[in-house]
Amino acid sequence: MTSTKNINVALIGNPNTGKTSVFNQLTGLNQQVGNYPGITVEKKIGFCKLPNNIKANILDLPGTYSLNASSIDENVVIELLLNKTDKLFPDVALVVTDVENLKRNLLLFTQIKDLEIPTILVINMADRMAYKGISLDIPYLEEKLKTKIAVISSRKGHGINELKELIVTYPEISTEPCLNASVIDPEYFNQLRKAFPNQLLYKLWLVITQDVNFLNLERNEIRGSFTKSHSELKRLQQKETIKRYQFINDVLKQGQQIDTAVAKDFGSKLDRILTHKFWGYVIFFFILAVIFQSIFEGAKVPMDFIDSTFASLSSLASEKLPPGILTNLISQGIIPGIGGILIFIPQIAFLFLFISILEESGYMSRVVFLMDKIMRRFGLSGKSVVPLISGTACAIPAIMATRNIESWKERLITILVTPFTTCSARLPVYAIIIALVIPDQRVFGIVNLQGMTLMLLYLLGFGTAIFSAYILNKILKIKGKTYFVVEMPNYKLPLFKNVAINVIEKTKAFVFGAGKIILAISVILWFLASNGPGTDFNEADKIIAQKYKGQPISETEFQNEIASQKLENSYIGLMGKTIEPVISPLGYDWKIGIAVISSFAAREVFVGTLATIYSVGDTDNEDTIKNKMQAEVNPATGAKIFNFASGISLLLFYAFAMQCASTLAVTKKETNSWKWPAAQLVFMSGLAYVVALAAYQLLK
């Protein structure tokens, strides 16, 4: 077995060095994305065939500027590199650097070298060297840095085979550190060395300086006698950083030549426009408008297609399969359930497409720069813009994206208000209700009323997020210095392959993650709607027959009466009836009540629930969900259930309510306390109820 064991290769590097492109080049689509146990840091592992029949697990570690961790993403890197017993502990580390930022990128490299793991230096973006007038003396650099160097361009796919060949030679790669950082305080480090002769000196230093979760015992033991005050440690870390930069500067003075006469600087021209005090904002809002417009317009056709396909599939199943419970489950539970999941794909894919293009191109950092001062007035950071924009796809990755906000207060506020942004799970709810209650008309010949309503709902989401942030900023008493350091990466044309893989991975994760819940809930709902206690449900046909005795009634009407009698007295019907008094002031009947309850864990379940409820007992299944909802009337008054007032009330309810268990879970994880998700739930859902109530009472 040992001969077939895969070797472990870790990809390490600063953000914006094209590390993920290298990962994609090495592994293709052969990757698995998961989470590290207990934390929500994304874990990406891929597989790669190397020369000589060697197979490798490629681990794409989160981007980090150094081994001085300041976020849980970065902790992951240190924890793995310090733990030799981890089954992913690398046999060889690839430090990916950007040839244009070699100086800064090498800082991390020198730290990794101190861990005495075989390390290859990957100099990426080599295609930019001529453009920027950069030339490198590779043999000199290899000698000084005590490593092997692969010069590649992950963008053009150059040098990937050479890199693979180099990885195979890992047992021969030097594990010697390239500089001696302990000279910053020789006395201290000598004592440390004497006390722990079997341990790596740099590892000890990291254990002392970092708040890494693991090795607690070991750390207490080490810290006991070697404690230093926080400011002493920071001073030493500064000295260490200076020492490393001195070494790097010396090496690059010889090993790297930059001909500034040749270098072209297109980026600074672009910066002048994109961060312009007027045009910068115009461009930003134009881009946002394009994104939202295309999500609604572009996704419409495939969504309608999916909707009608599943409606006809459902009726096909009930026609062709032998009648019985199993057929009902398939045609009324499972097929509408799956349809309710798949209908998401177009919009989510569009959103992730735009977000990954903005991030890949380097434009997102300019937005952060442009918006910081404005956002700070509301207690947010310029970096909050990224979560707020990603929140339009899904609040979960958005909340995780707050990790690079340095100030705890700004970060906490961002986490708390992000769920107000219109996430893609709200879209199907909005889409169907807008289609029902807002006329499909154009005003002034160009503005589509339905599209405008959606745009307003997006603005409402952002507006509420910003306003809540302002309030929270006044209420929360959190002291602490606010730091803000943001790298402004070079502009790059987004790589199709990276964007495509990102879109596929994110959509897949979302659809499967949400899909499991939706499918399970659909089946449970179907069961609860098809069964009920007592004679009102079980003898529905007799009761209806009794009721219409002697009256002329067609067979279809008769069957429909039975079906609605059954639904009303089924388990789910009784649940809906129970909460009806609470929700009827909002304009909802018990069927909507069921949908509100079942979508408590995930908003997108709303549409699926209504689909299931209206399908149960329905004799002709080919109608779409929309038409079925359109036809719903209040049996007492004959008025439409989905009218303007109840529609607006529902839209507002879903705009504000915290109907997402996953968001609550991720808030708990990121804030390490139940207090904040509880506050989110109470505040958001309370606000939703009040606003929906007011809207319905005013409009009805």
């Binding site: 500027y65 150094s66 001085n68 300041s70 930022n101 100086k103 800064r104 800082l107 400011s231 920071k234 001073r235 870390q237 500064q238 950083t241 200076i242 930069y245 600074s268 910066d271 002048r272 961060t275 312009h276 005090k277 910068g280 904002y281 950092s365 952060v368 720069f369 442009l370 910081d372 001062k373 404005i374 310029g382 340095e406 606010t482 730091y483 803000f484 350091v485 943001v486 790298e487 402004m488 990466p489 070079n490």
Partner: protein
């Protein structure tokens, strides 16, 4: 008064002097914002804050409050 990064004009270059480590985030040091290195002010955001710098070849943006903590010696630009 000793100039700081905050008092630079757009396009001006300077050399970073010794500063109080406590006031500066470690991340900024790691980006190459260290005593003796060169800093150039590339852009000022609308409303005067944050500042977009080239420090030791790295492009970073920092807030005014941090920039005020970093004293510099101006480099005379030759024309």
């Amino acid at each position: 008064m000793q100039p700081t990064i905050a008092s630079l004009k757009k396009g001006e270059k300077a050399i970073i002097r010794e500063f109080d480590v406590e006031a500066i985030p470690l991340k900024l040091l790691e980006m190459g914002c260290l005593p003796g290195n060169m800093v150039e002010l590339l852009q000022i955001a609308p409303f005067g804050d944050p500042l977009y710098l080239n420090v030791n070849g790295a492009h970073v943006a920092i807030r005014l409050e941090t920039a005020r903590e970093i004293e510099v010696d101006l480099l005379k630009t030759d024309f």
